[in-house]
């Protein structure tokens, strides 16, 4: 799998990365780069390896082969201590938020500041309130994550991810499971963070409309095939696999007739309607 030419000034670059779980390959020699200061979206279906790319970059899983360059450093052989230094440049918003459920939203945001900076409590409180206000959650600081909606959790997770001013922000499925209003709200927040703070963004998503609106660069992973370019370039692509994915068209010939035949009409009367 190879995408656009390797940018020398890329914030993150993967070269020939291979990754498999229990012998099941997920990334097959992936080569791609994420330009500094831009929003790159890794687009693809479920199981395509989008989240794995982010986890490989964050050092949460170790790839078996290839090179991962972050801010000019090859992190492939880094130990925990060195990786922790690299992670200070990274922020990550997890799909489910990954907020500590025993801490209030305030304490969740304060945690990285308490652990990684020498700021005093008043300064930490100011910073947390500033971030919560920025993501529209000014009045929920005393609540636990379990008391928030999915969209609010994602916004709180986003605030936590950027509170330490990372150079690179990774967002895993920021739009999944959200209503259209929440999707637009997250989208606007990500765009604002990118423009105002200049943070390089790596987003994994299968939400096509948001991706096409938001991305400076799209990397499409589909069935071991990779295509990359601007949203306009991908829209204009003649590659049928790219067109199929972007237009969300399903090839009905792929639906297996045997699947219906295997349903016993006697035991499942509604199956007759299917046939």
């Amino acid at each position: 799998m190879e995408a656009s030419p390797h940018a020398q000034d890329a914030a993150v670059a993967l070269t020939d990365v291979e990754m498999s779980f229990d012998g099941r390959p997920v990334l097959h020699g992936l080569t791609c780069s994420f330009p500094r200061g831009k929003i790159s979206v890794v687009l693809g279906g479920s199981g395509a390896g989008k989240t794995t790319i982010l986890r490989v970059i964050g050092g949460l899983v170790r790839h078996q082969k290839g090179k991962v360059m972050i801010a000019g450093q090859d992190t492939s052989r880094f130990g925990d201590r060195e990786m922790n230094e690299i992670r200070r440049k990274l922020g990550m918003m997890f799909q489910g938020g990954a907020l500590l459920d025993s801490l209030t939203i305030f304490d969740n945001l304060a945690l990285p500041l308490r652990e990684r900076t020498k700021l005093g409590e008043p300064a930490i409180a100011d910073e947390v309130r500033k971030q919560l206000t920025a993501v529209g959650l000014a009045n929920v600081d005393g609540l636990l994550p379990g008391q928030l909606s999915g969209g609010m959790i994602k916004r709180a997770a986003l605030a936590r991810a950027i509170i330490t001013n990372p150079e690179i922000l990774m967002c895993d499925e920021p739009f999944s499971g959200l209503d259209p209003i929440s999707v637009k709200r997250i989208e606007a927040l990500l765009r604002r963070i990118n423009r105002e703070l200049g943070i390089t963004m790596l987003i994994s998503s299968h939400h096509i409309p948001s991706t096409l609106r938001l991305a400076d660069q799209v990397i499409l992973l589909q069935q071991n095939h990779l295509a990359a370019g601007t949203p306009e370039e991908l829209r204009a692509s003649k590659d049928p696999r790219v067109a199929e994915f972007l237009n969300e068209e399903v090839d009905e010939t792929l639906v297996d007739e045997d699947m219906f035949r295997s349903i016993d009409p006697e035991r499942a009367p509604q199956a007759r309607h299917l046939r």
Binding site: G58, L60, F94, L100, R160
Partner: protein, 259 residues
């Protein structure tokens, strides 16, 4: 057939040794984390509350019940030999040397050990520990070490409490129900129990059990598969493995050090 059996045995042995190695590495990481600043005093106190204070009712009730049964069985047995005045010694030595630490460890495993595994396992499944790693915060330092240390700290205290309630249970049955003289019960207890040998040995045993239960519970949670089934398996495994390990270690501590 025989070759297959040998192969399976070899496989199990190899996995067992591998697992022991992993637990040893995890244990040493936890030990290093526990002595590395910053000290997690607040987290430790919270865990002492969760693991210790919330276990008080089950420990007190169980201690009382076990003491009452010991009192009843002991009295009925001793009375056959005309030695019922030794009831205090029998109840006391049984509870202090053996039943107190062992019952406490088993009860704490069931209540607090399983909860510890489930909590850490759920944090694994919901990527909370990965979230900490991405913030360059060690999950072992922030989450695991305070829980393991709290388990070690509360086990001797809970065991002592279990013993006190057990002695009281024995007194209630022996003196109030069976009509034994209260002074006889207490003096028999006093003369039989040696503080430096029996009581300190008992506390040492409870401390070792605290280390075992704390290590197994946190390790199982930390290494659980990130699914609900994985958390469930890890929790069950904690109860089974920790209980059996406590009983095995109990034998060896008793046999080797006479505690």
């Amino acid at each position: 057939m025989i070759v297959d059996a040998i192969r399976h045995l070899g496989g199990y042995t190899s996995r067992f040794i591998d697992e022991l190695g992993r637990i040893a590495v995890f244990g040493s990481q936890t030990t290093v984390a526990a002595v590395t600043p910053p000290a997690r005093v607040r987290a430790f106190v919270d865990q002492v509350y969760n693991l210790g204070v919330l276990s008080l009712v089950i420990i007190c009730v169980s201690g009382l019940a076990v003491g009452m049964v010991l009192g009843l069985q002991g009295y009925n047995t001793l009375v056959r030999f005309g030695a019922e005045e030794s009831l205090g010694a029998v109840v006391g030595l049984s509870l202090i040397r053996e039943l107190g630490p062992v019952f406490t460890a088993l009860l704490t495993t069931g209540r607090a050990g399983s909860a510890t595994t489930a909590e850490i396992g759920t944090m694994v499944a919901t990527e909370q520990l990965d979230g900490l790693r991405m913030m360059s915060i060690s999950p072992i330092h922030l989450i695991v070490a305070p829980k393991a240390l709290a388990m070690i700290a509360v086990m001797p205290l809970l065991s002592a409490l279990f013993i006190v309630f057990g002695l009281a249970g024995g007194y209630v049955v022996g003196v109030w129900v069976m009509g034994l003289d209260g002074g006889t019960y207490v003096s028999s207890l006093e003369s039989a129990v040696v503080f430096s040998d029996d009581v300190l040995g008992s506390l040492l045993k409870a401390l070792v059990f605290g280390v075992l239960v704390g290590l197994i519970a946190t390790y199982r949670g930390y290494t659980s598969a990130p699914t609900s089934a994985g958390v469930s398996r890890a929790t069950t495994s904690t109860v089974v493995v920790a209980s059996v390990t406590v009983l095995i270690f109990d034998y060896f501590i008793t046999a080797l050090w006479g505690v």
